[in-house]
């Protein structure tokens, strides 16, 4: 008996058993890529610099009120570039007080200063800038995950990619436009006062005071479907944001049948601010702004206690529901842009699976028949090895949670061809050894032994390329690399454990072997 036959048989049986265990039940064990089951693949770019700028703006605002509290006369405090705040004092007399206040802003350091002019600059520390950029992406991932969870997608993938990107994969989503709108919305809800000093006509003509800006309310005419844009002059100062929200619910709009609105409720702090703001501004108009679009600007008739408000704006029930979701999940810290999108409808995915299966089964059958005809019994052994190879390949993909994509199916089809190469190498070698007059057993031994080195070399080189492909490829190409790599590893295993084992069982056990069916 050849050495350790039982041990090797045990290993093969164990691998086969483990493979079947991982593969069962097949519908659940293998992750299908978005190209096969349909769904959305989105790569979002987070505009991290905008977040840095907005945080700098906030610090500038805080600094200004801090200086005013100290009684320091301020001409202006503005952001310059992304992360620098420039302070101009009314006079140089309070210079030292001003610096004391500035020193409290630990994230900044005082840069250029000009005492005579009463002017100095605060630059955000580099470490802080990096931290903010990182926060923007991290919070973005969290917020989007929240939104997607509330939207209800089975098994979404939301991960950070690199410095400023977020990868989102939503399998099986039927309405991609809606999902994209939900994910991509910044959802920055702001409450600001209208600037009622500046006539709208003057603002439209381009003369807007520095503290105000021109915003539009979009209205769609129910009959003509035409969009109408109504301009408003709105103060830049934000009184309250969506960060102070606790609840957001969909309601029917009592004033416009068929339209829906979103009722919101503030936190205790938010409710207090809202009460104060409404009390101090009775008679003025409060604009409700979402992502720079003005939704409504109702007149404040009296102080509003309890912290409740409604957002109206000709919403359908889906729009209102999605708005409620994004308000509950919170605003994205910075706007995002779609850098890459791949949306596949479910019917296309089903077609791809069918074609892929036809291709795989077709190439497998062709190769099977070829091997049987050419090598007879040995060909049958190679065919069995091929089946085992496929089982191990699929099981490995299931075990690692790898995703099977359409190019991945191509990779499998290719692996079939390459796995057969391994057996051909061995068989040709055995035939050669027989030709020089070796006995069948010696020929088998020598054939396997001599082919080993070659097989390792050929497999390793292709595996090197597969690994490189995995590293540099994205999405679908990665899937190809994975199945190629795993398939080659499985082919190494089956050739040396399984094919050899069957040869040993068939030819090495009997007393005398006259000929090999090869």
């Amino acid at each position: 008996m050849p050495r350790r036959l039982w041990v090797r048989a045990g290993i093969v049986v164990a691998v086969l058993a483990a493979s079947i265990w991982y593969l069962y039940p097949p519908q659940k064990s293998i992750n299908l890529g978005l190209d096969l089951q349909g769904g959305i693949h989105l790569m979002l770019g987070v505009e991290v610099d905008k977040y840095v700028a907005s945080q700098t703006d906030r610090a500038a605002g805080d600094l200004k009120s801090g200086l005013e509290r100290k009684g320091v006369g301020v001409k202006r405090v503005v952001r310059e570039g992304l992360s620098t705040v420039v302070v101009e004092l009314a006079s140089a007399t309070n210079w030292n007080d001003a610096l004391t206040v500035a020193a409290e802003f630990g994230a900044f350091e005082v840069g250029q200063r000009d005492e005579k002019a009463g002017r100095f600059a605060l630059a955000m520390r580099q470490r802080q800038v990096a931290q903010l950029r990182d926060d923007a992406v991290r919070q973005g991932v969290e917020t989007i995950r929240n939104r997607v969870d509330q939207f209800g997608v089975a098994e979404p993938t939301i991960t950070r990619q690199g410095d400023d990107r977020i990868l989102i994969q939503l399998p099986g989503v039927q309405d991609p436009d809606r999902a994209k709108a939900l994910i991509g919305k910044t959802a920055l809800l702001e409450f600001r006062l209208l600037d009622e000093q500046t006539p709208v006509e003057q603002a439209v003509a381009g003369r807007v005071p520095e503290t105000s800006e021109l915003l539009y309310q979009r209205r769609i005419d129910k009959d003509t479907k035409a969009e109408r844009k109504q301009p408003y002059v709105v103060q830049k100062r934000t009184l309250l944001t969506g960060a102070e929200l606790t609840r957001a619910e969909v309601q029917a709009d009592p004033n416009a049948p068929g339209n829906w609105q979103v009722a919101i409720e503030f936190t205790a702090t938010g409710a207090r601010i809202f009460g104060d703001v409404t009390e101090q501004n009775v008679g003025r108009h409060l604009a409700i702004i979402l992502d720079g679009n003005l939704y409504s600007a109702p007149r404040i008739n009296e102080r509003i206690p309890g912290g409740r408000a409604v957002i109206t704006g000709q919403f359908t029930v889906d729009e209102a529901r999605d708005l409620a979701i994004v308000l509950r999940a919170g605003a994205l810290p910075a706007p995002v842009t779609i850098m890459e999108e791949r949306t596949v409808g479910p019917s296309l995915g089903a077609d791809s699976i069918r074609q892929g299966i036809v291709a795989i089964v077709g190439s497998a059958v062709a190769v099977f028949i070829f091997m049987l005809l050419y090598y007879r019994l040995s060909g049958a052994i190679a065919d069995l090895a091929l089946v085992l190879n496929l089982i191990i390949l699929l099981a490995c993909m299931a075990a690692f949670g790898a995703t099977l994509t359409l190019p991945g199916i191509a990779g499998i089809a290719l692996t079939i061809g390459m796995a057969v190469d391994t057996n051909i190498l061995i068989f040709e070698r055995i035939r050669e050894e027989l030709r020089v007059g070796k006995t069948p057993r010696a020929a088998i031994d020598a054939g396997f032994h001599r082919a080993l080195r070659t097989i390792i070399d050929t497999h390793l080189t292709v595996m090197v390329t597969a690994a490189i492909l995995y590293n540099f490829g994205t999405g679908p190409v990665k899937g190809f690399a994975v199945s190629l790599f795993v398939g080659l590893a499985a082919s190494l295993f089956t050739a040396y454990f399984f094919t050899r084992l069957l040869f040993d069982i068939v030819y090495m056990g009997r007393r005398r072997v006259q000929a090999i069916s090869i």
Binding site: D35, M43, G45, D177, K180, T337, I338, M339, E340, E341, R342, T343, V344, S347, L348, D351, Q355, V358, A359, G362, S363, A366, V367, F370, M371, L373, Y374, R376, L406, P407, A410, A413, L414, G417, M418, V420, D421, I424, L425, E428, R431, R435, R453, T454, D457, T458, L460, T461, V462, V464, T465, I468, L469, N471, F472, G473, T474, P476, V477, I518
Partner: protein
């Protein structure tokens, strides 16, 4: 026992001068195609939007074009994709973002009553940044793939010459396949890149089998006194049946992929299909031939130097 070759002894290496002419022609074909017609990059690399539409009734391209003329799509391309009901529209980046574009396409086609019902089955949008990233990744993937193979061969066979010759063979295959891609008007897309990388692996695979045999033979006594060209020729002949059989099986697999794999995999399968053929050829006539001529060049120079030393 069916045997394709019984102890073959073809004079492959001896005819390598002819092969150089053929290889040169193949290279010229590839390079000319690339220079004249160029490669048409898919939106994966250029950025842009792709919309795949399935109509209930087979439409005419003219009707689709008429429908789409209502929206500004820039230099868009309309192509039938697979069966007659399925079409692909590719629009450049300037046409706008995917979301808006898909909506505009749907609205515009909806107005063209001759087209009947349709369904958007796939929308792909690649932004300029991602397109540039993918271009870079493609170049890196090819370069690192080649470098990895060069290093592996140099290490495994202790022969830098072997590595360089193998890379030359791969280069030849790639140029030829890219030329064919260009001539047939196929797009260079991510799957095509994957196919090219597979060819690199596959072509080198064959080369390594021949090198392995060469290395093994060199330790044999019967090999003594044979010229390097003869040794190489022996190695090629001894591995010939394996080379042809394997090429046949891989060829079968890719041919089936090409026919049944569907339109999405067609370009991928096309490149592989050609690559299998040129890969087998280039093993013998580029990798093998170059290493023989290179070794002979070195030997004759060493020989001349020895003579010179002997004279002096």
């Amino acid at each position: 026992m069916i045997e394709m070759f019984r102890s073959p002894n073809f004079n492959f290496i001896g005819r390598r001068r002819w092969a150089y002419v053929i290889s040169a022609l193949m290279l010229v074909f590839g390079l000319t195609a690339l220079a004249v017609k160029g490669l048409h990059y898919d939106i994966d690399f250029t950025g842009g939007t792709l919309v795949q539409i399935r109509f209930e009734q087979p439409p005419t391209v003219a009707a689709i074009r008429a429908g789409l003329s209502r929206v500004q799509l820039g230099e868009s391309v309309i192509q039938q994709f697979g069966d007659p009901q399925e079409y692909i529209v590719r629009a450049p980046l300037s046409a706008g973002s995917s979301e808006e574009l898909a909506k505009r396409v749907t609205a515009a086609l909806g107005q063209e009553t001759a087209l009947g019902k349709f369904e958007l089955r796939r929308v792909e949008f690649v932004g300029p940044q991602v397109g540039r990233d993918l271009q870079l990744q493609a170049i890196y993937a090819v370069l690192f793939g080649l470098a990895g193979i060069l290093l592996y061969i140099a290490w495994a066979f202790k022969s830098l010459k072997g590595g360089v010759a193998a890379i030359a063979a791969v280069f030849h295959d790639m140029v030829f396949c890219l030329g064919a891609l260009s001539i047939t008007g196929r797009d260079f897309s991510l799957p095509v890149l994957a196919a090219l990388l597979t060819i690199i692996g596959y072509s080198v695979n064959d080369t390594i089998v021949a090198y392995d045999r060469l290395r093994e033979n060199r330790s044999k006594f019967s090999n003594k006194g044979k010229s390097f060209a003869d040794q190489m020729n022996d190695a090629v002949n001894q591995t010939l049946s394996r080379t042809v059989l394997t090429a046949l099986t891989v060829f079968l697999s890719t041919a089936i992929l090409l026919v049944f794999g569907g339109k999405t995999l067609e370009d991928f399968a096309f490149v592989l299909f050609l690559g299998v053929i040129t890969g087998t050829y280039s093993t013998i006539y580029i990798a093998g031939a170059i290493i023989v001529d290179w070794t002979q060049a070195i030997e004759s120079r060493v020989g001349r130097r020895k003579k010179a030393v002997a004279k002096a």
